[in-house]
């Protein structure tokens, strides 16, 4: 097909379109929905009985804050990346990775400080928490996926990883509020690893996503 013919064809089929809202606005809408859904998750699992006490303790709050920040940054980045050329600087992306790194360091440090290693086979509860993180993250991930599909993501690996990270972080936060176990090894395996796993799955699935997005 000649380029002139393609232009004539595309121009002949052009219809009015409504420009997408800015990524920050869409991120806010998503985060409101994800927070509400996380609340539903906490209600379904039941909040830990000593929540009011734990909310006053810095170590507990610090991990909750890291989960919230990771989710907020990651959703903004994923929506920015779904708009061609909207990412003028990689600062936000680097910051998100930095926050995830901080979260990783916090979890690893806690495990090392506890000196008990990872309870892979001794703790029967961590797989339950891991599943809960992923279950709570599914709906926000689907909603975010639809939002990203409305854009045109050109960096699929990053977009998918950030979207999965944002959604799984909401799940991790919900489980953090619900789970009564404070063992660092349990927190690492059951609450944190699924988040990293979700992000890795996002990267791994980028080719499939490319076909789905058809960009």
């Amino acid at each position: 097909m000649r380029t002139e013919d393609l232009i004539a064809d595309l121009a002949g089929r052009v219809t009015p379109v409504r420009p997408l809202l800015p990524p920050a606005v869409r991120a806010l809408a998503w985060f409101a929905l994800a927070a509400a859904w996380g609340g539903v998750g906490v209600a379904a699992f039941g909040a830990r009985s000593d929540l009011t006490v734990r909310l006053l303790q810095p170590d507990y709050l610090w991990i909750a804050a890291l989960a919230v920040l990771t989710s907020m940054f990651a959703v903004v980045v994923s929506l920015i990346l779904s708009i061609p050329g909207a990412e003028r600087t990689p600062v936000l992306r680097v910051s998100t990775v930095g926050i995830l790194g901080l979260w990783t360091a916090t979890m690893v440090r806690a495990v090392v400080a506890a000196g008990r290693g990872l309870p892979v086979s001794t703790d029967p509860h961590w797989p339950v928490c891991a599943m809960r993180v992923l279950v709570v993250g599914v709906l926000p991930a689907l909603v975010l996926w639809v939002m990203i599909r409305r854009g045109t993501a050109l960096r699929l690996g990053w977009t998918a990883a950030m979207a999965a990270l944002a959604a799984a972080s909401v799940g991790a936060l919900a489980v953090h509020v619900a789970c009564p176990l404070d063992d660092p090894g349990h927190g690492f395996l059951g609450h944190f690893v699924p988040v990293v796993l979700a992000a890795a799955m996002g990267i791994a699935a980028r080719r499939r996503l490319a076909r789905s997005l058809a960009v």
Partner: protein, 232 residues
């Protein structure tokens, strides 16, 4: 169309918006060297304020459904895309592929352009991405395909005058095509007889690429059945 020419005439300078530094190519290319593109350099080249303003105005009108403005914009952007690609990978045969892929992406992504933001980063992000895609595709193809200058001689049939049973004549194919449902026939014809890409067909028919592939696959299966397993 007259109006389009008028528009394009005013905006032809947009097509020369890029004055990128040519990359690499240390010394002249060897005579016997295969046509391998140079290393690609990705820094986007900004448009001038005037070009930016004009492109933005055209894009806003295109988003409102103004076909004339859209055609003008696409004409200019196609030229810019060719120019940009030529400056980065040399005078290769597939410059038009880059331009067309870019236009198709612009068409499907035109709602993502925000008029409050500059046009150039949006456009060059798409263009760079499509250039990389086409470059990768061309490298894959050139690694697997044999050039026509070294094409092996066709093997003659066992008996002179005997027809190869695997060969289907065009009349048979046409009558088999005619029996397919409209959508299948249209897609198979576009892909196999008119050499259009899946992307082009999906954009033209307003279907997803996956749906086009599935419909084409069903069409091939039906054709194979109709032709008695000959059309492989």
């Amino acid at each position: 169309m007259v109006a389009l020419v008028g528009h394009a005439g005013d905006l032809t300078h947009l097509g020369n918006a890029t004055r990128p530094e040519r990359t690499v190519a240390a010394g002249p290319p060897r005579e016997d060297a295969p046509a391998r593109p140079n290393r690609v350099r990705w820094a986007p080249v900004p448009m001038t304020a005037r070009q930016e303003q004009e492109a933005t105005a055209l894009m806003i009108r295109a988003q409102q459904g103004d076909a004339a403005a859209y055609a003008t914009l696409l004409t200019v952007l196609a030229s810019t895309a060719r120019h940009y690609a030529r400056n980065r990978v040399g005078d290769v045969a597939w410059l038009d592929d880059v331009a067309q892929e870019t236009l198709l992406t612009i068409h499907s992504a035109r709602h993502t352009y925000d008029a409050r933001r500059p046009f150039a980063p949006w456009f060059y992000a798409i263009l760079s991405s499509r250039l990389i895609d086409v470059l990768r595709k061309e490298r894959r193809v050139s690694a697997r395909e044999v050039g026509t200058d070294v094409m092996p001689e066709p093997v003659p049939l066992a008996t002179p005058g005997q027809r190869d049973p695997a060969v289907v004549d065009s009349a048979q194919l046409k009558s088999a095509l005619d029996t397919l449902p409209d959508r299948q026939r249209e897609i198979v014809s576009a892909l196999k007889l008119h050499d259009q890409s899946v992307r082009e067909v999906s954009a033209r028919l307003g279907m997803s690429e996956s749906a086009v592939k599935v419909t084409a696959h069903r069409g091939y299966k039906a054709l194979r059945r109709l032709l008695g397993g000959k059309a492989s």
